[in-house]
Amino acid sequence: MRNIINNAYNTSNANGASTANNAHNGTTNSDFAVSVTGLTKAFGDVNVLQGVDFTITRGEIFALLGSNGAGKTTTINILSTLLKPDAGNVTVCGFDALLHAEKVRENISLTGQFAAVDTMLTGRENVVLIAKLRGIPKSSEVADKLLADFGLTDAANRLVSTYSGGMTRRLDIAMSLVGTPSVIFLDEPTTGLDPEARLEVWRMVKNLANTGTTILLTTQYLDEAEQLADRIAILHAGKIIANGTLQELKKLLPPAKREYIEKQPSLEDIFLAITHNTRSECDERDEQVKHSKEVA
């Protein structure tokens, strides 16, 4: 019920993101960036994946939703060639993940559940390292541009061990964009982030999708899937039990009842409002002084 009520406030946002992507998809609708059929994987006696099927269209944001241990990370690891499936077919950008793993790796980028950054290096050194490993000729120029895009120019020459959680995650994602891979896997990109950093990651994901990058993100936060995804699949007990747009998934439930409730601000609203005010007070003190003079 709570979700359905929330939707009323969020629809404008979610629709905005999906129209932008549909425009980009255009004629390539039949061309899948990722195609998974009959995927199974067991660790010992535990059957983590028991026949997973889904496809992701080029340029779309696809959310894999599931509780802890549902097999989201296992799926991502198989797609990014880190794990071999027991059975099933996995194609990424037209390449079979088992037969042409090297080709798949050239086209993808993985942002794991925990920021995979080298804390003993500076932010800049981290990005340059990835650029060198990807064989990009002007690695330091690429690094400077990405660091600027992610607001890390000032911190670029500091050791990553001094970064905040949000900065580390931004660097982590910046590192994933080196060489502009066409498919990006984001495994729980906002787990463990504060609300502000979480919104920042959401903005980055939306911007990324606007450039035509295909994004597969896993999350256990339902609102994250609602906010970002063009399509949502629910992974439960090793199988995809639902797959579709938010509107399609809503049809699975009986039509929403109309209830009148007072809109209470959530704790997140309050937190963001207060912290944002404090920040702008610092930044715009001069302007406020001017303004109060005018009023006087």
Partner: protein, 246 residues
């Protein structure tokens, strides 16, 4: 070509780790140097080795000890790369797969050599002297390097297989103490039978004997070949098991 490029990039990264955390060199150096001071200036007078210069006698054992404690850091570096997801990141990229491990092994050997040079310099101050020729010195260095290589493969197993940082470095403790039950500090013939049998047939004794003979410019070829065989055997086993763990 790509393998060289990737190895070079990853080697540079790990070298920065070593340079930025001087403790990896300092802790590895301090303990063996302290033991060297203790043995030379406290016990040394009472130990009858037949050699007129006790620093000369014990330096090879001290070097092996420092190499063993140095590889604990190799293991910890591997463990943290796996734990932080850096292995996953690198392995999902189009890089040469073997370059990851090769870079770790190379950095392990480079930092081991740095430790060997520092300790040898301190030993020189304490009175270590050698009349070995350049070829004998290089052979001694080669045996030490082979020993580093062998222990690094054990570190790979520990680093990739461990469940915690402590577990990753714990493998080195018995290795650090192995020189005590060898010919490193005292001749083995005063030891009780069972201990002596162990001491005379474990790798440290032959490696110590080999290096000691080289530094005295009287190479004991038998000990040299036996120590090379030990190092190669340990490396092969470590490599085979390490691949599986990975």
């Amino acid at each position: 070509m790509k393998m060289l490029r990737d190895t070079y990039a990853l080697f540079g990264r790990l070298l920065k780790h070593v340079l930025r955390s001087p403790d990896t060199i300092i802790t590895v150096t301090i303990m063996p140097v302290a033991i060297m001071l203790l043995f030379v200036y406290v016990f040394g007078g009472a130990i009858e080795t037949g050699a007129d210069n006790y620093v000369n006698y014990m330096l090879p054992g001290i070097l092996l000890m420092s190499i063993a404690s140095g590889t604990a850091y190799t293991s910890v570096r591997l463990f943290s790369d796996r734990e932080k997801g850096l292995f996953a990141r690198f392995n999902s990229m189009p890089i040469s797969r073997s370059s990851l491990l090769i870079a770790h092994v190379l950095v392990s050997i480079v930092s081991g050599l740095v430790t060997v040079f520092i300790i040898t310099a301190i030993a020189l101050i304490m009175g270590f002297r050698t009349n070995a020729g350049i070829l004998q010195l290089l052979t001694a260095l080669a045996v030490l390097t082979l020993f580093m290589f062998a222990l690094t493969w054990l570190a790979v197993i520990a680093g990739l297989g461990a469940k915690s940082v402590d577990g990753a470095s714990a493998f080195s403790y018995p290795l650090i103490f192995l020189p005590f039950i060898s010919s490193a500090f005292v001749p083995t013939d005063t030891m009780p039978f069972a201990v002596r049998v162990f001491a005379e047939h474990q790798p440290v004794t032959s490696i110590v004997d080999a290096i000691r003979s080289l530094l005295c410019a009287t190479p004991a070829y038998n000990a040299i070949w036996v120590s090379i065989a030990w190092c190669v055997a340990i490396s092969v086993v470590g490599w085979l098991v390490g691949r599986r763990v990975r």
